[in-house]
Each structure stands twice: as structure tokens, then as C-alpha cells.
């Protein structure tokens, strides 16, 4: 009789412990993004100052706040999309777009191929992407996404000026 009671108590305790462990595991929520600094190297924020760059344009807005709000609505998942920059930080930019605003969503490239690939990518998600017909001169300033394109050699990313980007 004692053995039966002891077995019953043991069984109940075992079930309670198991339920407790399940409850603890069930409350272990995943970490929200960003979930930690990636282990990989951080690339330099290349502005390409002085270089002639190709811009992919996602929109032009009157104020930075409007541009930031529009950019926050364009999700590219975990990858970088457009960058908010003042129109004035690229010589020749305003001549290309007219005067609809002072801030733009852009991504800058050294090669036509890089700009084309990004434009196709953005359009495939359903976002506007216009490649400016003429290159514009970078005056430095804020980071506009330069460096995110393939080297024509096919060996990796393009990390420096090309003949076409040098004035």
C-alpha cells in the first residue's frame, strides 16, 4: 500500500515538474531583431566624394521627415534599401529631377550594372526605382549606399572608383 502511494506521489510530482519545464520553455520568446551584432566585418561608409555616380531614385520629398516616413514604408526585409539624403549633396542632381523637393530616397552606384540590378530588385518588390539618366558628382555628405554592388570581375564587391566614376 505504501509503495502504491509513493509511486502515485512520484508520478504526480514528475508530471508537475515536466509541466513546469514545458511552461518555462514555452515562455522563451525569440529575440526581436536586431538580434545581435553580426560577426562579420563592417564596411566603411563610402561616400565616393568627388566621383561621378549613378543614382537610383525612390522618391523626392519636401522635408526630411516626409522622406524618412516614406522610407520607413519601403521594407526590403533585412537588407538595406534606400537612403535619405539632401538633394544638394550631389552636383547635377537637382537639374535631373527639377524642383519637387529637397530630400530624396536614393541608392548610389559606381556601375550602371549595379544600379540596374538594384532598380530591378526594388521594382520586383513593388517600389519605385528610377535610374537617373546622367551621373551626378558626389560632394560627400551623408552615406547613400555606395559600395553595395558587384565588382565587374565577379570576384566580390566593388570597393573603389572605376574609370567611369572618376571625373
Amino acid at each position: 500500500m505504501k509503495r502504491t502511494v509513493a509511486s502515485g506521489i512520484g508520478l504526480v510530482l514528475g508530471v508537475l515538474v515536466a509541466l513546469g519545464l514545458l511552461a518555462v520553455a514555452g515562455h522563451t520568446a525569440p529575440q526581436p531583431y536586431p538580434y545581435g551584432t553580426p560577426i562579420g566585418p563592417k564596411m566603411a561608409r563610402d561616400t565616393g566624394a568627388g566621383e561621378m555616380l549613378v543614382l537610383v531614385l525612390g522618391g523626392v520629398y519636401s522635408t526630411r521627415a516626409e522622406a524618412e516616413a516614406a522610407n520607413s514604408q519601403m521594407s526590403f526585409g533585412d537588407v538595406a534599401g534606400y537612403y535619405v539624403v539632401p538633394v544638394g549633396q550631389f552636383q547635377g542632381f537637382r537639374e535631373e529631377i527639377g524642383s519637387p523637393g529637397d530630400f530624396a530616397l536614393v541608392s548610389a552606384f559606381r556601375t550602371d550594372q549595379g544600379a540596374q540590378e538594384f532598380a530591378v530588385f526594388a521594382q520586383s518588390i513593388g517600389y519605385p526605382a528610377t535610374i537617373l539618366s546622367s551621373r551626378v558628382r558626389s560632394l560627400g555628405g551623408q552615406y547613400a549606399g555606395l559600395g553595395q554592388e558587384a565588382d565587374p570581375s565577379g570576384l566580390g564587391p566593388l570597393t573603389g572608383p572605376t574609370r567611369a566614376s572618376l571625373p
Binding site: Y35, F118, A150, P157
Partner: protein, 201 residues
């Protein structure tokens, strides 16, 4: 009202015969179904699963390389009817099979095995709009390379599974197919649209 011995024996015989027929016919039906769709699970030449940046580079090479988007495939979205074409690394697919033409790839992982399973398990209806793979881009908000830049990540159902959600609405129905073939699901870090063939990054 007892049952007659002959009737009981006939019932047992019927059960045995029906079971035998089902066991014999079921594999044939499955085989016919797969053959009709021209698909076989291959598991051919999967690359080792890298952990961390150094191993990713060791296995797949530099980001934005030609190999990172050497193979492409089309993936239909069930909600808008569009077929999204995206590139990915040549080590993750492009090997010729009954379903995939020879694209110069090295394995059957993504386009034959993962996609084939999803299609043949009738789960393709859960893959919704917003599908992309290779992109020579940094991780949002920083300057570290995304796994998309290596061609080892795919985003699926982006319009239904926004980054930041720590739950899944549609991708949960087929995520196990990716996991069963070596992929990590981004739900682990609240990015349910994201699948990547890498860990620790």
C-alpha cells in the same frame, strides 16, 4: 445472437486483403504522383552548413561574387499569381534533375529538393507575394553584408511576414521543408519571411 465462425473468418480475410492492397498501391500512387510532376528528392551534393562569417566566406566565397547569383529560379506567389525570379548561389542548386534544367549548379538543394517538396506536399499555396533571394546589399541599418549578398538567403511571403514579427502566419506551414534541408528559419530572430543556409550570422 453469436456471430457465425464463417462470417468472422471472412471479415478477417477482407481486412487482410484490403490492408495488403493499400500497402501495395499507396507507394505506386505516390510514385505516379511524383513522376507526373517530374520530381524526385535527390539530396545531391549539399554544401556544409557554415556557422559565422568566416565559414560563410570559406564555403561560399565573397559576397556579391558571380557564384552568389549564378543560378536563378522562378517561384510563384499564391496570392497575386506573380512568379518571382531570383538568383542564388550555385552551390545551393542548379544541378540538372527531372524538374530542373542544367544551370551549371553544384547541388539539388533549393530548386529541386526544397521547392520540390513544397510543391509535392501541396504547400505552394502558402507561399505569398514578396519573394527574393540574391541582393548585393548590407544588413538594414548597418554596413555588414547580408546573407542575401552571398546568395544563401531567400525571403518568402514578405507581404504576410514582416520583419519584426515574432510569429508566423503562412510560412509556418512550409518552414519545416527548409529546415529539413539545412536552412535556418528567420523566425528564430523575429524575421519570419527569411530563410538562410547559414548559422551564427
Amino acid at each position: 445472437m453469436g456471430s457465425r465462425p464463417g462470417s468472422s473468418r471472412r471479415s478477417r480475410t477482407t481486412i487482410v486483403v484490403v490492408t495488403a492492397v493499400v500497402l501495395a498501391v499507396a507507394p505506386l500512387l505516390v510514385g505516379w504522383h511524383w513522376a507526373k510532376l517530374g520530381w524526385r528528392d535527390k539530396h545531391y551534393n549539399y554544401p556544409p552548413k557554415p556557422t559565422g562569417y568566416a565559414q560563410i566566406v570559406s564555403v561560399f566565397g565573397q559576397p556579391c561574387s558571380a557564384d552568389a547569383h549564378a543560378v536563378s529560379m522562378g517561384w510563384p506567389a499564391a496570392d497575386n499569381g506573380a512568379t518571382y525570379t531570383f538568383g542564388f548561389h550555385k552551390k545551393l542548386g542548379g544541378y540538372p534533375t527531372e524538374m530542373v534544367s542544367n544551370k551549371g549548379g553544384k547541388s539539388t538543394n533549393l530548386d529541386n529538393d526544397v521547392y520540390g517538396h513544397i510543391q509535392n506536399d501541396h504547400l505552394i499555396g502558402y507561399t505569398k507575394s514578396g519573394i527574393w533571394g540574391y541582393a548585393c546589399r548590407y544588413i538594414k541599418g548597418g554596413t555588414s553584408w547580408s546573407t542575401h549578398a552571398f546568395g544563401i538567403a531567400v525571403d518568402i511571403s514578405a507581404s504576410y511576414e514582416p520583419m519584426g514579427n515574432c510569429y508566423s502566419t503562412v510560412n509556418k506551414n512550409f518552414a519545416f521543408e527548409f529546415k529539413n534541408h539545412g536552412w535556418r528559419w528567420g523566425l528564430d530572430f523575429c524575421d519570419p519571411m527569411h530563410f538562410q543556409y547559414a548559422f551564427g550570422y
